[in-house]
């Protein structure tokens, strides 16, 4: 009985099975031939590299997106390590794909905002009533007295794809925990206040000011600005004064007692620590007094 049933089923089913068999093998033949005859050599490496990239298309590498960068690195390994958000991890992955040794590219770069004036510290000339953008405000001369300092409209915070920059009381403040060092902020700042600095240490010392005015003018413009007095340069030789402004040589920088003295001696407290778990900046005496009243 069962056999008969099976036979019946089979007899009604075989044409379908066979047709499908025919169709299947037909396509198999065609596609096999096609896959051999029409083979195009594409570099699987590029795809692999693309896969290894963070795919945020931030442009930190200087190319228009991760895809372009992947192509560029595969052709020219010189570009290795340009992807800041990916960091050394990605670089080594790419190096592995390309069978390369990565050269030691030094400490990672992180942005430093060269200004430390909050809203209350700055002298303003007039109220700005224009477009809420630093670029727009910067094109109007002297919204705030200091032509060098942070305008506080947040072009940099908008440029950061990683939410690592915040406007804190009128001053761009980097969250070094989130920052990937892509440098987008530094490119966005119309006043070139944000410098990408190799962070050899967990936190770095810096002169958080860009004001090149003479001391007296600088003081009239900002409570916390560098007045170019030169005390720091006297205390530690990693400091130098150029155009009324103190500079720190980051390459030479080592936390020593000298630098510690310099930071403590600075009359406007414009030398501060930045970076992960940086100690809070010293507050100028006047400022704390002013804050109380």
């Amino acid at each position: 009985m069962i056999l008969a049933d099976i036979y019946q089923l089979w007899s009604s089913a075989w044409p379908a099975g066979l047709t499908m068999l025919g169709l299947g093998s037909g396509f198999a033949v065609v596609l096999l031939i096609a896959s051999i005859k029409l083979k195009v050599e594409i570099d699987p490496k590029i795809e692999q590299i693309h896969g290894a990239l963070p795919n945020v298309d931030c442009g930190a590498c200087g190319f228009a997106g991760c895809g372009q960068y992947a192509k560029a690195v595969s052709e020219n390994p010189e570009f290795l390590g340009k992807c800041a958000p990916g960091g050394p991890e990605t670089a080594s992955k790419i190096a592995l794909i390309l069978n390369l040794q990565i050269s030691d590219s030094g400490p990672p770069e992180r942005p430093i905002v060269h200004c430390r004036a909050n809203t209350a510290d700055k002298t303003l000339y007039g109220k700005y009533k224009g477009i809420e953008s630093c670029t727009a405000a910067n094109s109007l001369a002297n919204v705030q007295a200091c032509k060098f300092g942070c305008l506080g409209f947040g072009d940099c915070t908008r440029a950061c794809q990683f939410d690592a920059l915040e406007m804190v009381d009128g001053l761009a403040t980097v969250n070094y925990e989130k920052c990937t060092g892509c440098g987008a902020c530094s490119r966005a700042c119309p006043r070139n206040l944000i410098e990408m600095v190799p962070f050899a240490h967990e936190h770095m010392m810096t002169v958080a000011c860009s004001n090149k005015e003479t001391g007296k003018t600088a003081r009239s413009m900002c409570k916390v600005g560098c007045i170019g007095c030169g005390l720091c340069a006297k205390k530690a030789d990693t400091f130098s004064i150029e155009e009324n402004l103190a500079h720190l040589d980051y390459k030479k920088y080592q936390p020593t007692e000298d630098t510690e003295t310099a930071i403590n001696k600075c009359p406007t407290c414009v030398i501060i620590y930045v970076g992960k778990s940086a100690p809070p900046p010293r507050q100028p005496a006047k400022k704390t007094a002013a804050a109380k009243t």
């Binding site: 044409p15 499908m20 396509f27 195009v40």
Partner: protein, 196 residues
């Protein structure tokens, strides 16, 4: 004259009156996904048009010459999709090999098309409407592609404008695209009943 009339009416009907996207909900994924920029949208539209014409014709042939003759309607879906998938893959390989520049501009859409309902949907609708004339099947398939291209290009145009609008944050992207699509179908109801 009659055939020409039928073909013309069929073509207009499938391009605007019975547009696959607006009235039959076909090909919505690429319609939402690839309509961000007009050039991309147009590329996708062209790719769909090409493939849908090809597969509409092929499946009609297979359906009428093999399946219906042999009473194998049960394997219809399998055969249709095999034809489509195979054809797409073949075309992709071919274009990639011989027309690299063309491939750069619209070949990247081809793999996506296998999973585009518009293609299989059209083949099924051609069967459902009982189209018994090869020429008509070809024209309808082509028209379906053109209709899709039109829909996706209109959407892309709108979305390019929406980039510069203050769309509320949570509605940005797919939600506003869907709502726009809804209003578009409302607008296209204007053509309903135009061709009977």
């Amino acid at each position: 004259m009659d055939t020409l009339n039928i073909l013309l009416v069929g073509f207009i009907s499938i391009v605007i009156v019975n547009n696959l996207v607006f009235t039959k909900f076909l090909g919505i994924c690429p319609y939402l996904g690839v309509s961000g920029r007009i050039d991309m949208a147009f590329g996708m539209g062209m790719a769909v048009t090409f493939v849908v014409t090809l597969s509409g014709t092929l499946t009609w042939l297979i359906d009428h010459l093999i399946l219906m003759k042999m009473g194998l309607e049960v394997t219809r879906y399998v055969c249709f999709i095999l034809v489509i998938a195979g054809a797409v893959q073949l075309v992709e390989m071919y274009i990639r090999k011989f027309f690299p520049s063309l491939y750069e501009s619209f070949g990247i859409f081809l793999p996506l098309i296998t999973t585009n309902c518009a293609i299989l949907g059209l083949c099924l609708f051609i069967n459902l409407w009982g189209i018994d004339n090869l020429l008509e099947a070809v024209v309808l398939s082509f028209g379906a592609g053109i209709g899709f291209t039109m829909a996706i290009c209109i959407m892309a145009g709108i979305r390019e404008n929406l980039n510069m609008a203050d769309v509320p944050e949570s509605l940005k992207g797919a939600p506003i695209t869907l709502i726009t699509a809804g209003l578009l179908t409302l607008a296209f109801m204007g053509f309903a009943g135009m061709i009977r």
